[in-house]
């Protein structure tokens, strides 16, 4: 079996000086291979340059500038001065920022599980291709398509006491009073928002998992059926292990989305009562565009980026599958 170098040395004409060790085919073969490599490298760079330029302009540059802003007392209006890490020092002593971080973590912890479980159940329901699965697939994914902001405004009306559909239905089921004011108490508003977001986001989880489920070979399930495996055993032993990457993706997207929660809290509670339901992104918004403390708010934003990145990296590590582990060992 010939090596690629030997194959190429017979076909590529001499175009430059030799570099590196002589190979079978002589000095001319090495010259041809090095020139081809250089041309391939230049071609590769040229092809990725536009994408890299976009990333540099729209991601790296703004990120770098944001880091600089976070090291100043940049106001919305007026002059600013470089103050080093003072903003970061103040952050860790700011009770409202700490509260926002803890509230965001609590909210993330509450909604992540239900979003995954409901999404998985939806995926199981619609993956089979049986009658009605297309309809249900569309119906489950529709909330995600319509958008969180629009649905938050709708929820704001439906959560009103005396007139909203939520109290009407729950009162009929004897589960709540018709006068329940969902958006003005901490516990009720958090409950309502968690249920609402679970309904909104589980459709995306469904789509991510369903795509993976449909890629699992049917023969595995047939073999399991021959062995007398139950539905639950097939899910645990076949589906979930082979869905590891899809599950990881769904969970990471869900956690990042929860960390960046803003719309639903801004529209439904405005962070109230007081600031009890104020997530981190809303804290950043308030500091930047209400308090006009852009530098301080940017420090909070950079902190959020770093924390989100760390947590995502941890999730990637914990949820890596056997193929990724083997690749790491080979390296």
């Amino acid at each position: 079996m010939t090596t690629p170098n030997r194959v190429l040395s017979r076909r590529v004409p001499l175009i430059g000086h030799a570099t590196g060790q002589p190979r079978d085919g002589g000095r001319n073969g090495t010259i041809r291979w090095s020139s081809l490599k250089a041309r391939q490298t230049r071609t590769g760079i040229a092809l990725i340059a536009p994408a890299f330029a976009m990333v540099a302009i729209f991601v790296l540059f703004p990120l770098g500038f944001a880091v600089y802003i976070s090291l100043t007392n940049w106001p919305l209006i007026g002059s600013y001065h470089f103050i080093g890490a003072q903003n970061y020092t103040e952050l860790i002593h700011d009770p409202q920022f700490i509260h926002s971080v803890l509230f965001t973590l609590l909210y993330t912890a509450i909604v992540t599980g239900p979003i995954f479980i409901v999404g998985y159940a939806m995926a199981v329901l619609v993956r089979s291709g049986r009658f009605g699965s297309v309809f249900f697939r569309t119906a489950f994914f529709l909330p995600f398509i319509v958008g969180l902001a629009t649905e938050s405004f709708m929820a704001l009306l439906e959560l009103q006491p005396d007139s909203g559909a939520a109290d009407f239905l729950l009162a009929k089921l004897h589960l709540a009073s018709i006068h329940t004011a969902w958006t003005v108490s901490y516990g009720l508003s958090l409950t309502a928002i968690c249920v609402f977001v679970t309904w909104f986001a589980s459709g995306l989880t469904m789509m991510l998992l369903m795509a993976g489920m449909q890629g699992i070979p049917a023969e595995l399930y047939e073999a399991a059926n021959v062995d007398g495996a139950t539905w639950w055993q097939k899910e645990i032993r076949i589906t979930i292990p082979l869905l590891r990457r899809n599950i990881a993706l769904a969970l990471i997207i869900s956690v990042i989305g929860s960390f960046l929660a803003f719309n639903q809290f801004y529209i439904l509670t405005e962070g109230g009562p007081g600031t009890s339901t104020q997530p981190v992104v809303m804290w950043i918004y308030e500091e930047a565009f209400v308090q006009y403390h852009l530098g301080y708010a940017t420090a909070g934003a950079i902190t959020l980026v770093v924390v989100t990145g760390i947590i995502s990296a941890v999730q990637f590590y914990l949820l890596r599958d056997e193929r990724d582990q083997k690749k790491a060992v080979r390296r």
């Binding site: 540059f61 500038f65 880091v67 209006i77 007026g78 007139s163 007081g274 104020q278 308030e286 209400v290």
Partner: protein, 442 residues
């Protein structure tokens, strides 16, 4: 591949360094305004005037601009409407970029944030030359004043008044032409109307709308001669604890809530549906905006079914919240002369008299003639109150009064819904003092 990775890292590092260098080239504070001294300033100007107005004044702005352009062939105004939550951010960004509009219609309570750092042109000498300066809204002028210099002039007024339902007054045995003028009368009239039952309530307010409450509750405090802040911006202090007028105002709302003189859903009304129950004829008395109710009801109902009166204090007197917008000319405006000519035209009597039909109140009290009162009796009530109007001149108005987590709403919630007045005043005092200290001008 190693070569590519190094190249990518070098590019990234260079990009970041470039960003830091560009940003570190210096602060971009707006240049302090140097007043033009030409006697022709604002007279026969030419060119284009870029005018930014808030969307909430859309009807008024579009009408004024259209009429001005039709009558000034050599000077044209180009109108841009800014969204309700973005106006200050948009303006600040344009000033920092060195490309501001020539004239802006800015929410008057936002004026102090700009006047204190030289963002606006000093208009003192031009305002002093206006023959009707003494008749201009004092509240609007005050908000545009900093260190004795004037940087803004009134544009339009959005005033708070006490609306009442004359039909319900008659049904409850009250005189429909004798609106309440004290807190005690408001309470007793609301009690009488509430007894009508059948879904009728004596009073209403937007109980989850912090800005709405600031707009309607504070005038009663000012009518008593008290204010929630003391002193100019540079040395401002909070005046909450021990403020008797404030305590009386909060007590009135507490009574309304505990006696069920208001609909149950006021607790969750964030302003979205504020006033709709009043416009539907279900409410006896509602503090609100003049333009707010005018937009909700039919013209034929004004004066017959619905009427307004000035917002009273504890034992009489009255005041109003001088809301609305100020005109200001950014220091870096390209056509300040054209901007001032446009402003003077808007302030002429002929234009001011059009305001009621466009949902606004004029900003000149000398417009209040018998003819004006006969044509616009409801707006005449508001305009009469303008002379005693006020709006807090502070750097922290939005943070204090327009935020769900701000000290004002926290204080209102604790006092009115929880019934703990002592704690409420402590929260208000400490919260406002902290905001003032954090946002003191440097």
């Amino acid at each position: 591949m190693k070569l590519q990775r190094r190249q990518a890292l070098v590019v990234a590092a260079a990009t970041t360094l470039l960003a830091a260098t560009a940003a570190g080239c210096g602060s971009s504070s707006p240049s302090s305004s140097t007043p033009a001294t030409s006697s022709t300033f604002g007279v026969n100007a030419t060119g284009t005037v870029q005018f930014w107005a808030r969307t909430v004044s859309k009807t008024l702005a579009q009408k004024l601009v259209s009429e001005f352009n039709a009558t000034h062939k050599n000077l044209q105004v180009k109108l841009t409407l800014t969204s309700i939550n973005d106006d200050t951010t948009s303006l600040a960004t344009s000033i920092r970029a060195g490309d501001p509009p020539d004239v802006v219609g800015l929410n008057d309570i936002d004026m102090p944030s700009f006047t204190s750092n030289g963002s606006f042109m000093n208009l003192t000498q031009y305002i002093n030359k206006l023959p009707y300066k003494a008749d201009l809204s004092p509240g609007h002028l005050g908000l545009g004043t900093y260190n004795g210099q004037e940087y803004g002039v009134p544009y339009w007024a959005d005033l708070s008044v006490l609306w009442y339902n004359k039909t319900l007054f008659s049904q409850a045995g009250l005189n429909p032409n004798d609106p309440p003028t004290t807190y005690a009368q408001i309470l007793s009239d609301a009690q009488a109307i509430n007894k009508l039952g059948h879904g009728i309530n004596g009073f209403t307010f937007a109980g989850d709308c912090e800005g709405c409450l600031g707009f309607t509750v504070q005038p009663g405090i000012w009518a008593d001669g008290s204010y929630l802040t003391n002193g100019p911006i540079a040395t401002q202090t909070a005046n909450i604890t021990g403020n008797t007028a404030l305590t009386q105002a909060l007590t009135l709302y507490r009574e309304m809530w505990t006696q069920h003189l208001v609909p149950d859903n006021v607790r969750t009304d964030d302003g979205t549906t504020w006033g709709e129950d009043f416009a539907a004829g279900k409410i006896g008395i509602m503090p609100g905006g003049y333009g707010q109710v005018v937009d909700l009801v039919k013209p034929s109902q004004l004066g017959t079914e619905f009427m307004d009166s000035p917002l009273p204090g504890t034992n009489g007197g009255y005041s109003t919240f001088d809301g609305g917008d100020d005109f200001a000319i950014p220091a870096a405006a390209k056509n300040p002369s054209g901007a001032w000519e446009f402003i003077q035209w808007v302030l002429e009597t002929q234009q001011q008299e059009q305001y009621p039909g466009l949902g606004a109140t004029p900003v000149r009290t000398d417009v209040l003639t018998p003819a004006f009162s006969a044509a616009h009796p409801e707006d005449a009530v508001a305009l009469k109150a303008l002379a005693k109007g006020y709006a807090p001149v502070t750097m922290v108005y939005n943070q204090m009064f327009n935020e769900a987590g701000g000290p004002w709403f926290q204080m209102f919630t604790t006092a009115v819904y929880d019934g703990n007045m002592t704690l409420a005043l402590q929260q208000g005092q400490s919260g406002l003092a902290r905001l003032i200290q954090q946002n003191a001008p440097s």
